[in-house]
Symmetry: C2
Subunit: 173 residues, 2 copies
DNA sequence: ATCTACTTTCAGTATTCACTGAAACCTTAG
DNA sequence: CTAAGGTTTCAGTGAATACTGAAAGTAGAT
């Protein structure tokens, strides 16, 4: 193997390992993040067995996490003609990756919070005691803010890349 | 206990429980989120023993998570005169809470990612093979995007509430 | 209809992460 | 100094989560 090919393999392994470690920090399961890293840096679609071999994981594990990535929309299933098995290919456009992750995190983090806050705010409406009023007010403020974050996430998530860049340039300028 | 006081207790318990459950989703430990919820809805500073009693957790657990909340900056230590023990009080301003969480998440999620990407991008600079170039390009794009997200987080985190509201109004308008 | 090449599921196991409770450690008061 | 009141640490335990491997399921090919 050439020197460069070795360096490349090393760099890629490092990326896969570290991206996986990062996944934990992000509340995403390590294997899923590793598979994602592997696919993002693959030149062409790869199959379940390649994933198993590369990451030294079981078929079940590879399967589950590949399907989860497909559910998120970060990975597509590809069928090659003349091949019976499925191959997988990751979305590589960073802006698309970002909007997908934004959408998922909104679903998982913001929306449940909003539901909780709504109920707590509603359940304490019109209380007479100082404590009751303070609680209601706190719930209302949180609800308003989170609702607002939810709208921002929607808006940003549906922007075209170019527009987002413009907006951000203004923000940072 | 009056009817209203009961309703309040119920609503507050629900908030604490649900906020805790949410914490898991957010990659924050459940107890820490529960303590935070408890403190956010407390009328006055409370002590370790109150937290232990309210959440039915051990001293060690209460202690560790209270200190972690203090480290984050979401909770302050308060000393009452004539009292030897420490009391705790949460920041209640939602915008401040938001900026603190933004700062912490940037530190925990964005900065390590950036470091990884830098190294991988650097380590694959100037490769000749198509694979090497594709890898380098992918790393560069990710690095650029994440670096950018980092700056946005800084900027938003240091905004005054009023300014952020204005900006957001424009964004959502 | 049967074989073959895969995909999917899931009970059991391993790993990781959080919690307990008790001991060690401060700090102020007497 | 010693005692009392309070805080901090941490080894051991428990709960949650992820992973394995093998069996069951599916679908195209013969």
């Amino acid at each position: 193997m050439s020197d460069e090919a070795q360096r490349l393999k090393q760099a890629r392994d490092e990326f896969v390992a570290q991206w996986g470690a990062m996944g934990s920090q992000w509340g995403i399961n390590r294997t899923m993040a590793q598979i994602h890293a592997l696919l993002m840096t693959a030149v062409e679609p790869i199959g379940t067995d390649d994933v198993m071999a590369e990451l030294e994981i079981s078929r079940g594990n590879a399967h589950t996490n590949l399907k989860e990535l497909v559910t998120w929309g970060l990975v597509r299933v590809v069928v090659k003609k003349g091949e019976r098995r499925e191959f997988f290919e990751a979305e590589k456009d960073v802006w698309k990756i970002f909007t997908i992750v934004t959408r998922e995190r909104k679903k998982r983090e913001i929306e449940p919070a909003l539901a909780v806050l709504s109920r707590c705010s509603e359940g304490s409406r019109g209380m007479k005691s100082a404590e009751g009023q303070a609680f209601h007010s706190q719930m209302q403020q949180l609800e308003e803010f989170v609702g607002f974050a939810s709208k921002v996430a929607d808006r940003v998530g549906s922007m075209k890349h170019g527009f987002a860049v413009q907006l951000a340039a203004k923000l940072l300028g």
